[in-house]
Every structure is written in structure tokens, then in C-alpha cells.
């Protein structure tokens, strides 16, 4: 798109073939350098370049475009260009017939007239247009007949369309399901499934398997009893507390309300669990650095 901008920019002055006379200097408004992105061209030419419908010629953007292009309304384009190139300087003329005041024409516009293809230093003033009566009138009466507003609308629309397309692409990417983070623990590295890794142990004797089964059953019963005892203890705890709260309520409603209020500082309750041996007094652990090599995945 940007290069098309430049294309149109380039095509317009190409109505005047090989226009070195206007000065080779390339202003910031018309980056005639082919292949450059339109970003540089845009600041001073916000809606320029894209608006020329006639310039949608199949020529590839690049330095190879030449001046030999039929331009049915060169004046229009020039007008538009001039108008577009100097937005800050003046308001857009409502009709193309309006003549341009000399001081309102930006010199940069004229720089853009020079053909992009010609990199030669252009010092010879040439007559840019056929309606330019004399060479000295370079920077004066350049009729601006185009409809700058129209061009800008289309420009704006095209840019908006472009932005929407980009947004749609981004949305599509976001909608795609995020890649699942692999759980490293569940992925067995291949080297551990080799055959040489299989342990060779003697088979279980029937007595051994019998013993195991009986032990598992005993364990079930043991755990069941343990669980029942725990539940009984918890029940007794709760009962005792309920009784205490009831008695407290009988005594005073105020104290009761204070007692059943939630204790915010209690949870989260953290405590290091017991170890097998108590901590050694005066133990000096060996120095070392712990480097964490866990892989962190982001979605």
C-alpha cells in the first residue's frame, strides 16, 4: 500500500516526463525512493498518494517506472497532490478551479514532481506542465483542480480498511486455542523405555503374594479405625465448642457476638511440619548455590 502511495506520487509528476527542472531535491513529503515504506511519507502527506484512482497501473513499484503514462487529468492529480502535500498550510480548495496562491504552494510538492526514476542532479529548469507559461513561473500559478476532499475520504477509508484487516488477523490469532503447556512429569524420556532398563527380579512366590494381600487388608482396617477415631475427635471438639458458645450466649449476647465473629488473622495459617529428628543446635549447613533449571512455559 505504501508503495502504491509512492507510485501515485510518482505517477503524477510523471505526467511531465523527466522533470528535472523542478529540482531534484526530494522533500519529506514525497519519498521518491522506491521500496521505502510509506511510514516516512505519511507524516506530512497524511492522505496523499493513495487517492489517485487512475494511477492503479500494473507497473511494479520500483525505480523502473517511467514517465510515459497517459494521465487523463494530470491537472487534477497535481491539484490533489499539491493540496495533499500542503495540508498544514491551507485548507483544501473546494473546487478544482480555484487557483493556487503562490505562497500557499509548498515547495516540497514541487520536489515531488521530479521524476523518481531520475536520480540525476537536475539543475536545468524545465517547464513542468504545458499550462505553465514560463519557466520563471515555476512556483506560482499551478492550477489545482482536483477534489482534495474526495481523495482524502478514500484514503481514510482505505486506511481504516487496512486497520480493520490487521485487527481481524490479530483476533483470529488470539481466538486460536492456546498451545498446551507440556507436563514434564508425564512425558517419559525415551531413553528410559529401552529394554536393557527392565529390572530382572525373581518372580513372586505364592506365599509372598498371600502375605501381601493379607497385609493390605489389615491396612484397610487399620486406616478405617484411624479415620473413625479422627472423626469422633472432631465431633467431640465441635460439640464442646457449641456447648461453650451456648453458655456464653446465656451469659451475655454481646460477648457471644464478639465470639462468633470471624478471626481474619487466623487464616492462612502456615506452619512447618515436624521432621524425623529435631534440629541440631549450632548446625552449619554447607555452602552452595541452588540453580533453578525448571523450564517455564508461557502460553
Amino acid at each position: 500500500m505504501a508503495q502504491r502511495e509512492q507510485l501515485s506520487l510518482h505517477w503524477e509528476p510523471a505526467a511531465v516526463p523527466a522533470e528535472p527542472g523542478l529540482g531534484c531535491a526530494r522533500g519529506p513529503s514525497a519519498h521518491a525512493v522506491p521500496g521505502e515504506t510509506g511510514a516516512g511519507a505519511v507524516p506530512s502527506n497524511p492522505s496523499s498518494g493513495t487517492g489517485c484512482p487512475h494511477s492503479a497501473l500494473g507497473n511494479p513499484p520500483g525505480s523502473t517506472h517511467r514517465a510515459a503514462l497517459p494521465l487523463p487529468c494530470p491537472g487534477q492529480r497535481l491539484c490533489g497532490l499539491v493540496a495533499a502535500a500542503a495540508p498544514a498550510r491551507r485548507s483544501r480548495p473546494s473546487s478544482c478551479a480555484e487557483s493556487v496562491t503562490p505562497e500557499s504552494v509548498s515547495p516540497y510538492v514541487l520536489y515531488s514532481f521530479s521524476s523518481c526514476s531520475s536520480w540525476l542532479p537536475q539543475r536545468v529548469p524545465l517547464r513542468g506542465n504545458h499550462w505553465q507559461s514560463s519557466l520563471l513561473e515555476l512556483r506560482t500559478s499551478l492550477p489545482v483542480r482536483a477534489q482534495p476532499k474526495k481523495k482524502k475520504k478514500v484514503d481514510v477509508k482505505k486506511e481504516q480498511a487496512q486497520k480493520e484487516r490487521m485487527k481481524k488477523k490479530i483476533k483470529k490469532l488470539e481466538k486460536a486455542a492456546p498451545e498446551l503447556i507440556p507436563i514434564e512429569d508425564f512425558i517419559t524420556p525415551l531413553k528410559y523405555s529401552e529394554s536393557n532398563r527392565v529390572r530382572s527380579l525373581p518372580a513372586l512366590s505364592p506365599e509372598e503374594s498371600e502375605r501381601r494381600v493379607l497385609l493390605l487388608k489389615k491396612w484397610c482396617v487399620f486406616k478405617q479405625k484411624q479415620d473413625e477415631a479422627e472423626k469422633k475427635a472432631i465431633k467431640a471438639l465441635v460439640e464442646s465448642q457449641q456447648e461453650a458458645l451456648q453458655e456464653l450466649r446465656l451469659e451475655s449476647e454481646e460477648l457471644y457476638q464478639a465470639a462468633i465473629r470471624r478471626d481474619e488473622g487466623l487464616l492462612p495459617f502456615e506452619r512447618d511440619g515436624p521432621s524425623y529428628t529435631p534440629p541440631l543446635p549450632g548446625y552449619d549447613p554447607p555452602e552452595g548455590k541452588c540453580v533453578d533449571i525448571t523450564k517455564v512455559y508461557t502460553q
Binding site: 497385609l215 491396612w219 487399620f222 467431640a236 471438639l237 453458655e247 451469659e251 515436624p274 529428628t277
Partner: protein, 294 residues
Amino acid sequence: MAALMAVARSRAGSGRRGARRERGGKMAGHCGAMAAPLRQRAAGRVRWVCSAAAPRPWRLFGAMCLLRLPRITQPLEKEEEEMAALMQQIELEKSHYSDHEIRKLEEEEQLKRRKESSYDEDEASGKTVIMAQDLEEKWEQKFLRFKAAPRITDADKSNDRRSLNRKLDSNLMLLVKQKIGNQELWLLPQAEWKPGETLRNTAERAMATFLGDHIQAKTLGNAPHGIYKYKFPKAIRTEDNVGAKVFFFKAFLQSSDLSQAKLKADYLWVTKKELGDYLNSEYLKKVNRFLLDL
């Protein structure tokens, strides 16, 4: 039965030693609230009792059961040990060889081949190779050199009930000797309730009086865990002073260092089983209800 209860509640509810007058209105309301569902049955009777009956107030006490949590794990029971061994065996059977084990096996084979074929060892490898077996022996030596702290401490052996280092695998509770009436009794530290503070504050104050201000303990919530109610002996009992209600609170001791604590009274740290040696039976019964068996 319901009517009786309503009467009893209204009587108890309207009693507040030393603060009856100012809270008369509130108590009346309280009575009303308590007896509301029963109003239909005992309407006139409730109100009459509230205003005219002599209240039987109870003195309120807040007591703190300070627990030192276990520092080491409890020993495994027989079934647990057998099960642990079985689990380990099954895990071994289901596992594959690890890198270290493979290395060990290969080196054993190499040694066997060298002995059988009996070629020069210098040919095999110019450098001295550390065998996996050597590594294992080295690790074993290192482990044996480390001496962990003993699970049964000196305090255990001497049965010094005042120290906190005893019985590291169970909960220890603080008992203090307090004077109640004319008697010196072993009790959980308690203090009388003062108007203007919650019962939890009372219990914490009781703890602070016996152990000092800088005690780090986490009280488990605002609600009491247990209650012990008793009536004063007839000699002391008056209309205004029937008995006392002791509300128990539980707290976990956070800091193990109590050197700063200046205990004024006689104190003991005992386990739940040893409580019976010091507390009288009724009190003990109530206390045991809210203590877990550890």
C-alpha cells in the same frame, strides 16, 4: 419443659454481676429475644421472672490452653511399618534401572570379564576410573559420619516437666498453679473477665500474666473451645455469686524460645495423658473434650 427452659434462660440471662442496672434494659430485651419463640406458651411467666426473680450470676473467667506443637514425627506403628516396607518393595519391582544402576552393572561386568580373561589392566584404560561402587561407599561413609540430634532428649530421660524439650512428638500444654478460693490448684492459666474486653482478650491476658508480654502465640479464633461450670461451695455462695464459668481458648505456641518469660508461679508443660496427674476429674473431663489425642 420448654417453659422451664424459658424461665431458666431468662433467669440466667438477666444476671450480670455488677452491671445489672445499666444493662437492665438490654437484658430485658435479651430475655425477650431468647424467649420469643416460647412467648406464646409462657408469655406472662417469662416477663414476670425477668423482672422480679433474683438473678444467679456467674463469674466469667477466660482460660488459655497454650499448646506447644510437636517437633518430630511420631513413631510408626507396627502395621504402618509393614505397609511402608511393602510399598517400597512394590515400587522397586515396578521401576526400571536408573543411570547409576546401569553404570554399576556395566562396571561389574567389566570387572568379571577382566578377571576371566585376565588381560592387563593397563590396556583397558590409562586413567583411574571411579567406580559406581566406590561412590556408593563414599556416600555411605559420609552419612554415617553425620550425627543427628536425638529424638529422645535429655529432658525426656530426666522427666523434667518444666522444660519444653520433652516429648517432642506430642503436644505440650501449660499448667500453672493458681489460688482459687483457699485452694492452690493446678489449672490452665485463667483470669477473670473484666467488662470492656472480649473473652479472648481475657484468655490472652491470663497467658501474658504467667508468661510475660512477649509471648508469640496464635489464638485459634474468637470462639471458646470449651467450658467448665462450677458452683461455689455453699459457704461462699450468695445470691449474686453462684458460681463461675471458665471458658477455654486454644493457642499454638509459635516461638520455641521462652527464656524471656518470667514465670511467677509454678508451671508445668504436660501432655494430654499426664493431665490426669494434676487436674481434678470434672475439670479434666471438660478439658479432654477439646484436646486432640496427640
